[in-house]
Structure formats: structure tokens, C-alpha cells
Amino acid sequence: MTYINSLITDGLAFALPLFIMAVGGIYSEKSGVTNLAVEGFQGFGAFIGALIATILSLKSGLGGQTIIYIAIAAAFVGGAVYAMLHALLCIYFDADQVISGVVINILGLALTTFLTSQINGVLFGNASNKFVLETSYRFSVPGLSSIPIIGAIFTKVYPFEILILVLGVFFWYLMYKTRYGMRLRACGENPQAVDAAGGNVYKIRFISVMISGGLSGIGGMCIAYSLLVQYSPNIYLGYGYLAIAAMIFGNWNIIPTFFVCIFFGLAKAGGNQLCLVMQLSSLYTNLFMIIPYVLTLVMMIFFSKRNHPPKAAGQPYDKGQR
């Protein structure tokens, strides 16, 4: 019973950061910019967030929980600013968008690792490659959390999980119910039409990529708080790529992607719990860690054929083309 409870609790704590990163990916790709850079965005965003958190806890008298919210906001800004690089390369410099994504990831890892050790050297006098973060508090909803099985959803909830749900609803509304969202989606299907209707394709795409970076940054920061309780190069675990896979499964739509992420989260937590239930030695955890990746591959075999990615994704917008 406790196994099932912690499966749900841990699964959600992993699924929601993944979901917000995937929403980031959707924003970029729906506007017509292929985004393999989620991994780099989330790492860089988390780096900025962790840096601000470390400085604040060192220099200001703010409480640990306030710092967490500031760190998440900083991660949004950091990710968005870093994403401008991808936007510049893809939208104005007509670089190959897949290559640009890979470049952003490599540069992100190199820059953050270098800067972390430099800044640690300045702040603490030893060039360690990580920022230690405070553990986030978790709450349980009284009453609801005592319901069997479903109660696990309301047990030991990270505050950021609520934040992500709120953001998810907001960005769903922005994409499907507003004028801006409609233009954004049109940019990914037929940018010429947007231009003819008086929209600025370059500007819409630029903003979308920035939103993408910001949301990925939030996802990275949440993973740093929940899974690692520190910021280190370990943040580049490949969850950004997992988010991209979730986005492709969800067929570039926010609501199906949400359920795919929940599935991934449960699969990952399930692997860990299975290892515990079967009472295998810690050597076997490596074997159970492959579960989400194998599931991704298997599910892609069944779903990839029916996918239809945004038509104009991957192509720089050329005004003269028709």
C-alpha cells in the first residue's frame, strides 16, 4: 500500500516539471521553430535560479520558502534570456534549427559548469561544481489525503506542483483561446498567411521561443529542488529530451501531453518502487532506470505514424516564398 502511495506521490513530483518543459517545447514548435534545446534551456534556467537562491540565502535574511519562489521566477527569466540565443540563430541567422538546438545544449552545459565553479570560487573560496539548495517544504491536504490511493495525489505535494498546474492552464488558454495563440499556431502551419493578415512572424516566433525557454527553466529548477536538492551538472540528465519525446507523443497538443507526462512519471517512480518491492540490491536500480526510455521507444513505434508535426517547423521564414 505504501508502495502505491509513494508511486503516485513521486510520480507526480517528476511528471509535472516534465510537463511544463514539454509545454515549453510545444510553444516553440507550434510557432515553427524546432526545439531540441529544451535540455539546455532547463539547465541554464536552473543555473540562474540556483545562483540567485544561493546569493539570497547568503546575503539576505529572507526565509527559505520565499527564496524558492524567487528562484523559480529567476529560472523563468534565465531560461527565457538564454532562449533568445536559439531564437536569434533560428529566426534571424537562418541556422539549421536542429544544429542550433544541439549547439545550445552543448554551450549551456559548458557555460553553466564553468560559471558554477568560477562563482563558487568567488563566493565560497572553493571551486566546487554545485550549489546546494534548501529542501522545499511539502504539504498534505487535510482530509483529502486520507482517502485510500487517490489520497496520495494530495500527500506531500511540492508547492511548485500547484504553480505548474496553474501555469499549464494559463498557457493552454493562451495558445487555444486567444488571438495571440491563434497567430502563434498559424506561424507553425502557414507563416505566409500570418504575414498577409498583418502579423509579424519573426516577432511571434521570437516571443514563443522565449516562453519556451522560460517554461523549460521552471521545469529545470523544480527538478533541481525535488530530485537533486542541489544544482550541479547532474541536472543534464536528459529530462529535456524526455520532455520532447512526451511532446511528440502528445502530438504537439497540451492536454494529451499532460497525460503522457503523468504516464512517464508513474513509469519512472514505478521502476524505483518495483526495485524496492522485489528487495533487490541497489545494483539493480540501473536496470530499472531504463523503464521510461524503453517505454518511450515502444510507444513511439505505435504512435509516430499518425503524428503530424507543425508543417512549417524547421524552416526559417522567408518573406519572398509562397
Binding site: 531540441l36 540565443l85 540563430l89 541567422f93 537562418d94 541556422a95 539549421d96 536542429v98 544544429i99 542550433s100 544541439v102 549547439v103 545544449n105 552543448i106 554551450l107 552545459l109 559548458a110 557555460l111 559548469t113 564553468f114 565553479s117 568560477q118 570560487g121 571551486a127 536528459g238 529530451y241 520532447i244 519525446a245 511528440i248 545494483l283 539493480y284 540501473n286 536496470l287 532506470m289 531504463i290 526510455y293 524503453v294 518511450t296 521507444l297 513511439m300 513505434i301 509516430s304 505514424k305 503524428n307
Partner: protein
Amino acid sequence: MNKESSRRGGPRAALARFLTNERWTQITVPIFCIILTLIVSAVVLLVLGKKPGTAFYSFLAGNGFLQKANYGSGSGMISDFFSFLNIMAPMLLAALAFIFGYRCGLFNIGISGQMLLSGYVATVFIGYSELPGAVARPLVLIVGIIVGGLAGAFIGFLKYRFNIHEVVSTIMVNYIISYVTAFRINLKYIDMISRSSKTISSAARLTFTKVQIAGCNCNIPLGIIIAILAAILVHFVFEKTVFGFELRAVGSNRNAALYTGVNVGKQMISAMMISGMLAGLAGVTYYLGYTNTIIPRELVSMGYDSIATALLGNNSPIGAIFSSVLITIFQNGASYMSSAVGVAKEIASVITGILLLFSACGGYFRRLAANYLRKLADEEEEAKKAAAAMAAEKGGEDK
């Protein structure tokens, strides 16, 4: 544009012509990117309060191109140079692997996974065996090629049969390989002290260790010869064979290739297979040459650095030889540079990243230069027209 006008203009125009010159653009644009990178990294070093000159000197000295301040006993410039060749061999092979896929329009991001898998299989089956060197070394290469090729072909098959984007599938396969090999190594082959797999027999190792040359202990790599041969072979396949031509046709326009009767699916699978074979070779030269052990769960960053190498070399196999020299100088010289100048050695990766960033914009620089030249030519034309009109007007007044 006539010859006369192309000679005129200031240094800006000269630079633009330098970049757009059709015969040399394959070389001039990368050189331009390298110079930009050196300028940017010099500025970064200056901001950190270090001397860029000393830093660049130590990058070269760390690889045996220049004299270090002092050497330990039994080591010298020549041993540094051989260790440079030792790490350059897998880098060049990995870059060739990326190029082979890329020319066919496929992004093989899974090079590090394919390297790990082939290195692991070769280590377990050949590295831990008692075979003599004359048998073991060729077998290591063959195992590397076969395992890498199968891993690559699997990705190509998924792409062709199920339409799974190769970037996503290679990354998933990367993690699966790294976890499964880590599990096997931890279970059976772990060395409790070094926390990595047990070292392989020296008969199976592709690097001859501690060879005495001019009083220095040198590690002489077989891999570098294989890598250069592979580069020449890949060049030959692309330029001189029907197979290579069809591959490039699929890469530049899949539909056109399909229309002219190329079997696109077969080409994609074989491109990924050969890309995987080259990655497999890179894997055995890395894990059974440069190192002789495998650290569990670690995917080497070379898989990604090789993309930088390939991009910088304009995705040409011969260009990759030169670019892998450059990237390896940064990567391999980082620790000596770090100790000599006192900057964290991660700066080498930052420099590689910046280089990659500029290389990705190579096409943009070229177009910018071409546009500038066109504007210049237009202005000249306008000026000529205006002068002619003025002259005509003047002539009219005289009458």
C-alpha cells in the same frame, strides 16, 4: 560583377570577397569562425584577469606542439604529442560518423551511446580474453565495427519503418545503453578501487604503451592510422561511388531522390549503419586505446564534441581531419592550460561551444558578405549611371 570593380573597396569589402570566393569559401568561412572564437575567448580570459597569450600558448604546449616550462622524468614534447594523437583518433572517427549520417540528412546524436556499446562488447569479449595481440587487435576492430553498425542500423530501421525521429530514438537508446552497461559492469566487471571496469589485457589494447622514443615514454596509438584511412575512405565513397552519390542525393532532397529511383529507405538504413560502424571504431579506439577501462554510466562528451568537429570541417571528411586537430588541442590541452594559467579547465568546453555557435552561423556570414558585395556593386552601378547622365546633360547644354 566585372573584374575591375571587384578589386575596389576598403578592408570590409576585401573581407567580404574573402568569405564569398567560390573556390575558397569552404576554408575561409571556418577560418573566419576560428578567428572570431579566438577573439571572443581572449576577451573572456581578459575579463577573468588572465593573459590570453599565455593561455593559447599553454593549449599548444599541452599537446606537444610547443615547449612546456618543465617536464617530469620520462616525458617530453614527443610523449605529449603522442597522447594528443591518441585522443584525436576517436574524435576524428566520431566526427566521420556524424558526417556520414548528416550527408544523408540524418542526425546521429547517439554516437556516444554507440561508442559505449561497442567499447563494452569488445572489452568483455576480447579485452578480458587471453588472446595474443596479433589476433586480439584485429578482432577488437571487427567487433567494434559490427556492434556499432548494428546499433546504427537499428536507429535507421526505426526511422524508416516507424517514422521515429532519429534524434529522439538515439537519445533514448543512449540512456538505455548507459544504464544497461553500467548494470553489467557493476555486477560482474567492477574494479572495487578505481570504481570503473577492470583494465583490459595489454595484448588487446590498440595503443602501445610506454614505447621508448628519445628517452621519453610514449603511448603510440594504432587508432590514428585507422582514423586517417577512414577519412580518406569516406571521402572516396562520397565523391567517387554511385552509393555515395545516392546518399548525398537523399540528403539534399529526399523527394527528388525518390523520384529518380533511389531506394530512400535502404539508403537511410545503410547510412545510419555506416555511421554506427564509424562510431563503433571510435568507441574501441577510445575505450580500448585511449583508456583501457569503462566508467559505468558515463557517456563521453566526445559524442557531442564530434558534432562541433564535423560542423567546423564543413561536413567534409578531409576538413574533419583539420578541425579534429583544432578541437582536440582545446580539449586535450585544457588541463595543462588550467594549471599554467589558473582558469577552470571547463573553459575549453566553453571555447568549443563558442566555436560551434559561430560555425552554425557560417551560412549567415557568407550570405551577409554576398549581400554587402551586391550592395557595393549596385552603388557603383548607380554612380556610373549618374555620372553618365550628368555627362549627357552637360553635353546637351554645350550644344
